[in-house]
């Protein structure tokens, strides 16, 4: 039996491969996943999936001092001595550094030897993927990158794209971005993204996509019952710079308009304690915390999504929900949506207030905006025909069966 090994699809990314797995099984494939990250949020979907996960490596985490001492082992640090103190401890990759990478490299090689996959389907970006890709190249194993959405759409998520590799992306935007990185057009397959198909299917049917539930025992629980309100602003939390500031501005807005409430959506990959700074506002203000339900249900109940750089934007597009994207620091834009006219940009409170007023209280403007943007997701994720998972599975089959790839295509 032929075997496919998926690599580095932890947490949120797992939902893009989970619809593909049954199709591969129907095609007669076995599959497994090698992952350093915790797969806990996806545990329900793991039936029949072999998981290769290294044992707890927390004892291998390095202290800040050890990181600083370890850097010269692979960097010429003489010219950046002053930058190291600013940098250390900020990067998850650096927390593991050499001890982790040596260990994980050995683990990846051992896994490839043991499982003997015909094709490795790799994520993209970060040290973990680089290590597995290197193991594939040394062992002459075929691999393909199935690009997670954050790398396809967020420019803040930098990644190297090896020129000779093959890539599967959701839409034309990702394809053009890879071409700008030097990838040949013929090495990029536009497949759509299975998780977006599932969201699209739920748009009209109200059937929630598989795996949409979150927070286990808290499912269905909403902290503080929502007040009766005419308008709902959904704000996606990410624990990133500027989040508290935007929250304050949204509070200012809700307190100045009657019948407007603010619903906070915790980040699905972050612990609930990341919401603690906002909890006290739930008591006396029209602010709620959405702990249960599904993303689809949440988007259906909202009138507008406000976000810094959450990729929930994509699901909002699919569900026809207008989006306001906030950007107030001096760094570049993280995502393309505002500059391409797909979200309403706001850089100051005046702009935010104006955007919210128009989308919440001007029905003519709102209808016009929704009409103009009803298929604005197409350049990013293609036509949502429900067949993305089939296209991904077919591409994996073709690449696994093909004998043209000895290493990366």
């Amino acid at each position: 039996m032929r075997r496919i090994l998926f690599a580095s699809y932890g947490g949120f990314d797992f939902s893009m491969i989970s619809p593909v797995l049954p199709l591969l099984r129907e095609k007669g494939y076995e599959f497994a996943i090698i992952n350093r990250y915790d797969l806990a949020p996806s545990r329900k979907q793991l039936k029949g999936l072999t998981v290769f996960q290294p044992p707890d490596i927390s004892d291998r985490l390095l202290s800040a001092e050890e990181i600083e001492n370890a850097l010269p082992t692979f960097l010429d640090t003489r010219s950046i001595q002053h930058l190291i103190p600013l940098w250390r401890g900020q990067t998850s990759g650096l927390k593991y550094l050499t001890g982790w990478s040596d260990y994980y490299f050995d683990f990846a090689v051992e896994t490839l030897h043991r499982y003997k996959p015909d094709l490795i389907v790799l994520s993209l970006g970060e040290a973990e993927t680089s290590i597995i890709r290197r193991a594939c190249e040394l062992l002459s194993k075929k691999y393909v990158h199935l690009v997670p959405q954050r790398y396809e759409f967020k420019s803040i998520e930098t990644f190297r794209a090896p020129v000779k590799a093959t890539y599967m992306v959701a839409g034309e935007y990702g394809k053009e971005r890879l071409i700008r990185k030097g990838i040949k057009r013929e090495n990029i397959l536009v497949t759509g993204n299975p998780r977006f198909d599932a969201m699209f299917a739920s748009r009209n049917s109200h059937i929630e996509p598989a795996g949409a539930e979150r927070f286990g025992s808290l499912r269905g629980m909403i902290l503080r019952a929502p007040r009766v309100a005419e308008k709902t602003i959904l704000y996606t939390l990410q624990a990133v710079r500027g989040e508290a500031k935007l929250f304050e501005l949204l509070r200012r807005y809700t307190s100045s308009r009657k019948g407007v409430r603010l619903v906070l959506r915790p980040h699905p990959n972050l612990p609930l304690r990341s919401c603690l700074p906002f909890i006290r506002y739930l008591i006396a203000e029209p602010v709620s915390l959405a702990l249960g339900g599904t993303l689809g249900g949440l988007l259906r109940s909202a009138d507008v999504l406000v976000t810094l750089w959450s990729l929930t934007v994509m699901e909002a597009f699919i569900m026809g929900l207008p989006v306001i994207s906030w950007k107030s620091d001096f760094f570049p834009e993280e995502m393309p949506f505002a500059s391409r006219g797909d979200t309403m940009p706001a850089h100051t409170y005046a702009e935010l207030e104006n955007a919210l007023d128009r989308l919440l209280f001007d029905p003519v403007f709102r209808a016009s905006w929704v009409e103009k943007h009803q298929v604005c997701y197409t350049p990013y994720i293609g036509v949502l025909d429900g067949k993305a998972a089939f296209r991904v599975a077919d591409a994996i089959e073709a690449l696994a069966e093909g004998d043209t790839m000895r290493r990366a295509v």
Partner: protein
Amino acid sequence: MNERLIVFTDDARLLPDLSGSPDVLIISLDSQATSELTARQGLRVRDISEYSEQRFASYDELYGHFEAELHERLRPKDSLQQSRFLFETFWDDILLNLSQVTYIEALIQEIFKSEKPARFEFAISDRELDALFRRTVERLS
């Protein structure tokens, strides 16, 4: 004698009492703060992006701008294969983090050159940014 004081801020509410300082330039790190500060009478305010030699439309452009320089500065100068492997493995993380730090460094260098400040104050709410600005200013002073 130059007495110019530069105050870096990302939150107008944190601005210190500047009444005793005759020559003050406030450099805002946040467009909302810029908006609030410029609305106040008598303050000289500039947005920090004005000191950038170019506007970066995306992080891809920012990384691209600093990539060659950082690669050359940081690449292992020894011939060990292990050093090269580790460098390549962590290059994404290195570029992601140090491009942003290097961008801030370039902005502050330009501020030193064009404004010739005598001293600085920091009214930055974001702890990470505050540390970055303080340390970079300290090093370049």
